[in-house]
Amino acid sequence: MPEAAVIRKPRVLSRVFSAVRLPVGDPFAVVGLVIYALFIVTALSAPLIAPYDPTEILYTENYDLASDLLPGEEGHVLGTTSLGRDIFSQIVWGARSALLVGLTAAFMVAFIGSIVGLLSGYFGGWVDALLMRLADVAFGIPFLPFVIVISAFSEPSIWNTVIAMALVLWRDTGRVIRSQVLSLRSRGYVEAARVSGSSDLKIILRHITPNILPLSFLYGSIAIGWAILTEASISFLGFGDPDAISWGFMLQDAFNSQALARQAYHWFIPPGLAIILVVSAGFFISRGYENLLFPKLGR
């Protein structure tokens, strides 16, 4: 009996992977996944793809400032900014900071939200009351002004966005996961585990967490889009890190240099497009997850 030779215990990683299950059935989700793949590859290999340093001020062969070049001129694919920086290189490096902010913020949101939801839903009582009142407070905080306040009080940095998201946006994830845990903890197999004397920790890890992981990932994938959007807004409003090249920073730079008035579309359309693509890719993927998670919803 080769099949029954050992008790197969899925390792943590394979458990995570089986929970993640990429939503490849949904055409929207596939588009989203392709965009994400391109985006991640670009971000990871930014130094290889970008022809110039994004902050370097470039000069033409006759030592003039290479400012406001149109796409194609002097070998600049998307032209240059008013300060003589290569726009294409900025787009490529912008992907890197977007990925950094998106992933860390999504991780924080999904992680904190899941922990809060698990504790609140499983233990109930005063733990639940305390955490859910905290969530109510978080729901009462207007998100963008909160990020601006944080940015105003600390050094300008892309991490402000991440911190603000971690402090505020766990509320949605926490609420949803709590309600899921409430239904899971009264399932028969949880009761069976309790009868067999399992500790609360083991019940949570073995029976409840694997069942809420897909939800955590759903909210994580939504949070990636949110984080990139927020970071862009903050940079555009001028509270961003002036040394980190992000898409929002590029938009602000273009706006301040009256790019629109000079009809320099090659300057502000690419970063705008990049933001739109990545954020909507996030929503496409979460839509696919939704189909996986709640197949009965239909559409």
């Binding site: 009996m1 099949e3 029954a4 050992v6 008790i7 197969r8 215990k9 399932r187 028969g188 197999y189 009761e191 069976a192 585990a193 309790r194 009868v195 067999s196 004397g197 399992s198 500790s199 083991k202 073995r206 029976h207 694997p210 069942n211």
Partner: protein, 352 residues
């Protein structure tokens, strides 16, 4: 199984009460309670099967769960194998879990769909033993053999099995730690009739082999007649009659038991047609607001004046045959004293 020599009380339940609070209003103030189990006492002898019957919502499942302390009970004591677990905190209780296990009603819901059969059965082992993986697997195979499952299926998932097989997995899990006492909470209610017999026979076979003691909760009177040694009948949170099986089915004393038994169809049409059906009128009162006096007084065909004011006490009519009904308590002198005491208690409760 029914030797008088081996009649040791394995489980003693005394005055068990399980009340669930009802909160309402803006301030979530406590406005009442659902008296799911209201002052129940019974014993289960070692090696026997005590059947617990009653209609839906009468508190029989709650009773089984409360006995295993899946709830924190409101009042009363539960002693299993000489150990008082009624008031024990859940953390200490975990150490005593191996001696008492449970077989659940819905085998589909009680097995985690993400775990293989081997992991489901070995879950209690991981909690309470230090067996190596090899020993654990050996034990899992042993258990699968014992409940009649092919051991090659150890690495399959619950959804790959039929209902009856799933219930066998549930039984194997319950047996993993060699328990003495198993609460079977409607273990056959979710199964096909043909499979019901198989599972019940398996439970009986395991009882003979392993000396198990069952509290068998069911609403299926004929199945209880088949498996139980003694039967307790519950109505609205109280045990109205408790008797050895044959006595209960042959000479039911409580009007509710009579009504319940008259509802069991007889396979012989001539008997069935001649049978006098006791048809109860009305619905079961709400357990959050049980009637005054006897709980059954609103539907009882033999209701008397006293039933509407005084809660009947339990009397022993024949050895081992207990019932709580005024038809049998009227002549006893004790009633008068109890009446006063109980009415004082009632007015106390109403004053609260």
């Amino acid at each position: 199984m029914l030797d008088d020599t081996a009649r040791r009380k394995l489980v003693e339940v005394k005055n068990l009460k399980m009340h669930f609070p009802i909160y309402s209003g803006v301030l979530r103030s406590r406005t009442g309670e659902v008296k799911a189990v209201d002052d129940i006492s019974f014993d289960v002898f070692e090696g026997e099967t005590l059947g617990l019957v009653g209609e839906s919502g009468c508190g029989k499942s709650t009773c089984g769960r409360a006995v295993l302390r899946l709830y924190d009970i409101t009042e009363g004591t539960v002693t299993i194998d000489g150990i008082e677990i009624g008031t024990m905190d859940q953390q200490t209780l975990r150490g005593y879990r191996p001696m008492m296990q449970m077989v659940f009603q819905d085998p589909q819901a009680s097995l985690n769909p993400r775990m293989t059969v081997a992991r489901i059965i070995s879950e209690p082992l991981e909690e309470h033993t230090d067996l190596s993986d090899v020993d654990k697997l050996a034990r899992v195979h042993e258990l699968m053999d014992a409940v009649g499952l092919n051991r090659d299926f150890a690495n399959r998932y619950p959804h790959e099995f039929s209902g009856g097989q799933r219930q066998r997995i549930g039984i194997a899990r319950a047996l993993a730690l060699n328990p003495k006492f198993i609460v079977c909470d409607e273990p056959i209610a979710a199964l096909d009739v043909s499979i019901q017999a198989q599972v019940v026979n398996l439970l009986e076979e395991l009882q003979d082999k392993l000396g198990l003691t069952y509290l068998f909760i069911s609403h299926d009177l004929s199945m209880v007649r088949h498996i139980a040694d003694r039967v307790a009948v519950m109505y609205l949170g109280k045990v109205v009659e408790l008797a050895p099986r044959d006595a209960l089915y042959a000479t039911p004393k409580h009007p509710y038991t009579e009504a319940l038994l008259s509802a069991v169809p007889d396979p012989d049409p001539s008997v069935e047609n001649r049978k006098e059906r006791v048809i109860l009128t009305g619905d079961v009162p709400s357990p959050s607001n049980p009637p005054q006096g006897c709980n059954f007084c609103t539907r009882c065909p033999k209701v008397m004046e006293i039933c509407k004011t005084v809660d009947p006490t339990t009397v022993e009519l024949a050895p081992g045959h207990f019932t709580a009904c005024h038809l049998y308590t009227q002549t006893t002198t004790m009633t008068a004293d109890n009446t006063v005491a109980q009415e004082a208690q009632k007015s106390d409760q109403q004053g609260e």
